[in-house]
Amino acid sequence: MSGKRSTFLLTMLVFGFAFLYVPILLVIIYSFNEGKLVTVWSGFSFKWYVSLFSNDGMIDAAWNSLRIGVMSATLALAIGTPAGLVMSRFGRFKSRTLFSGMVAAPLVMPEVITGLSLLLLFVTLEQLVGWPAGRGVTTIVIAHTTFCAAYVAVVVQSRLTGMDTSVEEAAMDLGAKPAKIFFVITLPMILPALMAGWLLSFTLSLDDLVIASFVAGPGSTTLPMKVFSSVRLGVSPEINALATLIILAVTILILISSLLILRSEKMRSRTIDPATIDD
């Protein structure tokens, strides 16, 4: 009955995954190409990796990006977590509409607008109060924190909304005060969501080109900015090497994390079977 349908679905899956992965695979393959031309295979070599690691500008940019990513993700967690808590647990308050609007808006805001508006803010602030003096890592971190916090807020809010409020009520019923409930009950329960939020923010920060381009200053070039300026001129084997390294790192991280998740799920399903534990 469903033979025709399965053939169609299978074809689409094969085609779709080929579409997703062939370009990436080509980048990886050609990163080991001896020659500079993309189209001609002239032998296996690590020379573009060597040249990548001796490119000081690239190394500096990567270092900048990592630092900015860690700082932005951490700050975004500090600001996004209370925002998510407010959205899901505080009910109505006076300016709630404005608040939820400000939390949701960065998610749909075109990056060029966010970048431009933050740059104009920094310029105006510098004129008025002398801070931030010039633009650099600080301004990029502020900019990234702002839009990453919105993502963290959404992740935290959806986790809290799905969570049974009676667990928090039980803690209160047993004598714990609100602040204590948050740190002893709520926080441990949303820890996976917080970790996901941090990783998401880190990735978004590491990946951002447009906003960083607006608010960066001299000496704070990030990796995407560096890649963009070199890619604009066409294909470069060094970028192929860099891409391969990034893909490798991400793949390893994802494999490890999904293995961890799989293992904890297995432990869970093994112990949850009531038949084996009922006395």
């Binding site: 679905l9 299978l10 689409m12 899956l13 779709g16 995954f17 997703l20 992965y21 990436i24 080509l26 980048v27 050609y30 031309l37 993309v38 189209t39 600001i79 407010v86 647990r89 505080f90 009910g91 109505r92 608040f99 400000m102 949701a104 960065p106 749909v108 805001m109 075109p110 060029v112 607008i113 431009l116 508006s117 933050l118 104009l120 803010l121 310029v123 924190t145 702002t146 916090a149 409020t165 009676s166 009520e169 005060k177 609100p178 602040a179 990735t203 590491l206 080109l209 447009v210 995407p224 890649v227 890619v231 604009r232 294909v235 970028i239 891409a243 990034i246 793949t251 991280l253 994802i254």
Partner: protein, 309 residues
């Protein structure tokens, strides 16, 4: 459910109103005010200024003269946006390109999501991971990968020339076609994931019931599966449409000089022409004619979903 919310509200009302509650709301509130809301007011202000060769490169709206403040508002930037067809066609182009890309993404993403949802347990999670994986790798690099493929000296042309199918290289990069490929390629995971989660949750027995009641398979799909997966279609389409409409990187790297999109126009006004006031007025126009309608639409969607439950 509503009573639960009220409870927690009361609890924070009574016991945290003085310290905790204000602090918890205050931190994100102040941050977003300062770094999200106020910047737009500044953009609005500068969109009424005149470009000048100065640092910063725009005129001041407020000038101090003997008796008080003199306010000079310049509507010229907005009139200029209307008079030069470049801006309006960039706006329309952006919407057209984003809409067409969204439809293509849906056409490719739907069968993939359906196939994954119907796959066996462990295969399913592997396929799902393969969809998610590209999302965590660099966006820029994924766009970059297509340069090497579509370029005049790229892999497709090399292949076709070597096989003797063509004698002249095809122009694929720096066309609108390349922009479609770029958008579909980078945003395909955003379409598949919400579609997958609605299709996966759907009860297979519903389709079995339709078949049992005499529906042909394709008709069961059109009458049962498709309407039930509407929320996923809508969510996925929005996730693709919204970022692609303001896209800068893809038209810049893959599109030609004639592929005008509004995000790219703003970028060029700012970085190439250094005309901050015009860039600001483009931003305000985008905000009013693009972002506000999208947010309004999402708001209505959320309300409908709430009422539906």
């Amino acid at each position: 459910m509503s009573s639960d919310k009220l409870t927690l509200k009361q609890r924070y009302d009574r016991w945290m109103i003085k310290h905790g509650r204000v602090l918890v709301i205050g931190i994100p509130y102040l941050w977003l005010m300062l770094f999200f809301l106020i910047p737009f007011l500044i953009v609005l202000k500068i969109s009424f200024a005149t470009a000048e060769y100065a640092q910063p490169p725009y005129s001041s709206l407020f000038t101090w003269i003997d008796e008080g403040v003199n306010i000079t508002i310049n509507f010229g930037n907005y009139l200029f946006l209307l008079s030069d067809s470049l801006y309006i066609s960039a706006y329309i182009n952006s919407i057209r390109i984003a809409a067409i890309s969204t439809v293509i993404t849906l056409l490719i993403g739907y069968p993939m999501a359906y196939g994954i949802a119907r796959a066996q347990g462990s295969l399913r999670s592997v396929l799902l991971m393969l969809v998610i994986l590209p999302f965590w790798t660099s966006f820029l690099i994924r766009v970059y990968a297509w340069i090497g493929i579509l370029d005049r000296e790229g892999l497709i042309n090399a292949l076709l020339l070597n096989l003797g199918i063509i004698s002249e290289p095809l122009i694929m990069r720096q066309t609108e076609f390349a922009v479609y490929i770029g958008i579909v390629y980078t945003y395909l995971p955003f379409m598949i994931l919400p579609l997958y989660s609605t299709l996966e949750k759907m009860d297979v027995s519903l389709i079995e019931a339709a078949l049992d009641l005499g529906c042909k398979p394709w008709k069961a799909f059109v009458r049962v599966t498709l309407p039930l997966s509407m929320p996923g279609i809508l969510a996925g389409s929005l996730l693709v449409f919204i970022p692609s409409v303001g896209e800068f990187v893809i038209p810049e790297l893959l599109g030609g000089p004639n592929t005008l999109m509004i995000g790219r126009t703003l970028w060029n006004e700012f970085f190439a022409n250094r005309d901050w006031p015009i860039a600001s007025s483009v931003a305000i126009a985008m905000l009013v004619f693009l972002v506000v309608p999208i947010m309004w639409f999402q708001h209505i969607q959320a309300k409908q979903a709430e009422n539906g439950q």
